[in-house]
């Protein structure tokens, strides 16, 4: 535990040092790369929050990919037909809640295997969105908001304070989730349910209700991530365009040890890797075939999982049905 902690800090320091050095060499490019890292990393971070909220209460959610795909589609579809971005965002969040409730229904009420339940969501989302999708539509997208004063700070201003509204909102959600998980009774109860549901149940906490609540809330966060993808980051929608982000998020969640801050850091690292490769391609520095570049996130996922294998401990009751009555 201690060793891992120092490893984390050393890594952080190295990253800061490298960024500082690069900034001194070329401020404009470095700033834009780091800013891109944030906007690439954010959907992964939000998607990892979905996993954290579910697994901390003991529900495995491998349907995050499906949630992202479905909610980004619904968000885009509604924004496009009503020509109203705000409607789109709320519909996306609602769509996320629907997938969350569906997962909760299958895995808590029907006591289905949670892996299968998640897979069903993924397949359903892929099929449904591909079927309903029609090419050639456009939708209004959000535009960046500069935060007065803060946006003038060199480097940090452009990275943190000149973003679209959903970036700010997403970051707030992540920090709020972190505080809630460790400093509120909701968080204490959620973690207890994920580790040892009996302990919560015998203390008068309804395992059933709390699991439902958290999986649904997680769906809302997933919907936010979906809205961000189609209405802010990309500004359009295409079949299968979430490209495995939901699965990468699961790896980030594990690497971040089911801690929102850890997962956020891991997502930012991923975002940075992607931003750097983009920059290298754009500047024509590296002549790497595109396929290899596109592989990068997945290769990193494998590396990350290999590094953290055996070092992390998932919530103990993860994936298990809770049976209140036992003989």
């Amino acid at each position: 535990m201690k060793r891992f902690l120092t490893f984390k800090w050393i890594l952080t320091l190295i990253l800061i040092a490298i960024t500082g050095y690069l900034y001194s060499r070329d401020g404009v490019i470095t700033t834009s790369v780091v800013a891109t890292a944030l906007i690439f990393g954010l959907p992964l971070a939000l998607a990892a929050m979905v996993g954290i909220m579910c697994e901390r209460t003991g529900i495995v959610n491998i349907g995050i990919e499906g949630t992202l795909l479905f909610s980004s589609f619904i968000g885009f579809f509604v924004a496009s037909t009503t020509n109203n971005g705000v409607f789109g965002i709320f519909s996306a969040i609602l769509a996320g809640v629907v997938t969350g409730l569906f997962l909760a229904f299958m895995s808590i009420s029907w006591k289905m295997d949670q892996i299968i339940a998640g897979t069903i969501i993924n397949i359903l989302a892929t099929g449904l969105t591909s079927f309903l999708y029609k090419q050639g539509h456009t939708a209004p997208t959000t535009s960046p908001i500069d935060i007065p004063f803060f946006s003038n700070i060199p480097f940090f201003g452009q990275v943190l304070f000149m973003n679209g509204p959903l970036v700010y909102f997403g970051l707030v959600v992540i920090f709020a989730l972190y505080v809630a998980l460790y400093h509120t009774s909701w968080g204490l109860r959620s973690r207890a349910v994920g580790e040892h549901p009996g302990s919560a149940d015998t203390a008068g906490v309804s395992v059933f209700r709390l699991r439902y609540l958290n999986v649904a809330l997680a769906g809302a966060v997933g919907g936010l991530a979906g809205a961000y993808l189609s209405l802010e980051l990309v500004g359009s929608w295409d079949r299968g365009f979430t490209a495995g982000k939901g699965f990468t998020a699961l790896a980030l969640m594990i690497f971040g040890r089911w801690n929102p801050m850890g997962a956020l850091a891991a997502a930012m690292f991923f975002g940075l890797a992607q931003a750097i490769t983009n920059q290298l391609m754009f500047a024509d520095v590296a002549h790497i075939p595109e396929q290899f570049v596109n592989m990068l996130p997945y290769v990193l996922t494998i590396v990350v999982l290999a590094i953290s294998a055996g070092k992390v401990r998932p919530p103990a009751a993860e994936g298990q049905q809770y049976e209140k009555e036992q003989a």
Partner: protein, 502 residues
Amino acid sequence: MSALLEITNVTKTFPGVVANENISISVSAGEIVALLGENGAGKSTLVKSVFGMVRPDSGEIRIKGELISPGDTSGAIARGVGMVHQHFQLVPVMTVTENIILGDEPKRGIFLNMKAARAEVLALSEKYGLEVDPDAFVEDLAVGTQQRIEILKALRKDVDLLILDEPTAVLTPQETDELLQVMRNLAASGVGVLFITHKLREVMAVADRVVVLRNGRVAGSTSPKETDEEGLAQLMVGRNVVLQVEKGDAKPEAATLVIRELHVNDDRKHLAVSGLNLEVRAGEIVGVAGVEGNGQRELVEAICGMRPRISGEVLVSGEATPDMHPHKVHSMGVSHIPEDREKHGLVSSYSIEDNLVLNQFDREPFAKSWIRNIGALEDNATRLVEEFDIRTPSIKTTASALSGGNKQKVVVARELSQDTRVVVAAQPTRGVDVGSIEFIHNQLIAARDAGAAVLLVSAELDEILSLADRVAVMFGGKIVAILDAKEAERGLVGRLMAGLSA
């Protein structure tokens, strides 16, 4: 005076089993009622109904005259019911404080107020004289301490009725005595106590009234003044039970199991067995007495090849046994009745006939080269089920369908039916009912009389004292004393177990 707790005609069935049938019991304020019964008699189900963990099919449960709705745990808590659960309901990765406040957390605004929580835990611990470290993580604590946390958790709200479900199963004699004293103090302050156990000594020591359950029904109600341990046992089992083990004198021969300077680590890589020496002779039972967590489990696993030895050796009939090779150790004539039968003794989803040959399925007569001989398997199972009185619908039934006592009989049958030179029995009667205990004890004595060296590890001091020919007291990873059965007196052994010098 109206009763504190009134259970009227409660019936509860699980698929295929009637756990409770028309049970009526009452508990008054300031009264200690012991609920006694064999495993599977329905004791836990009944108290879980009171605490809202189980919904009875029919019947009424009233607390202070108020009807409680079935399955409403928070309602039961709100009406002043506290419960100490048989399987600890604690989150291992959380602190003592977090565990105790769970469900009703002190808050400041929307945030947890951990300072207030910590102070509350300290005050609670002070009030009841149960010492705990509020900042310790539960997983790092010994079972006795975890038990204290469970009790504090139950007592946190001013309870009127305290339910304890087999609270003494994991405690040392001293800890048990302390707990019994806590129960007396609570009763004296007006709390009603409903106390589940199958240890007769405790019932005699503390109960005002005893209700005995058998097969889901009330078999009788009595009080320690009106009866004795034999009478209670008879009521529990429904027939005469010989509590005192009858055995002839041991005729020990040469040392069969020799352990020299054994060092073994526990799961957390701390030294659990440190330089242990012990000899068990053919034809004797050596009982290892000790508070749980003093290296007994590691000792047993190292002998049987299930845990790496750091140094030292284990000899069987003069021959060194291999490290980390359970199958070879077994084939050298070492039988093992493991502490955790669900994990190491049985494959729950396998049939009884398969479980009975788990460590010899690949040998004659159960297999010829790589083809199994189903006929031999069935003959073996039929014979053992008969011989060891395993109560099962059929030899094809899966082990998971059996009761605890019968599961243990399957393990005992498998291990003792083979030609064995050494028997290592770890907690052989844990969670097993009185009738089966009697049977298993007799089987161990039979193995001894047939010339096996028996090493018995048990947390039940009574079991050690009644079975062992010699008592080895284990403390801090070492054998601190070896006593002859005649000189091993309860108080003395208890003091040695606690690490005090005799």
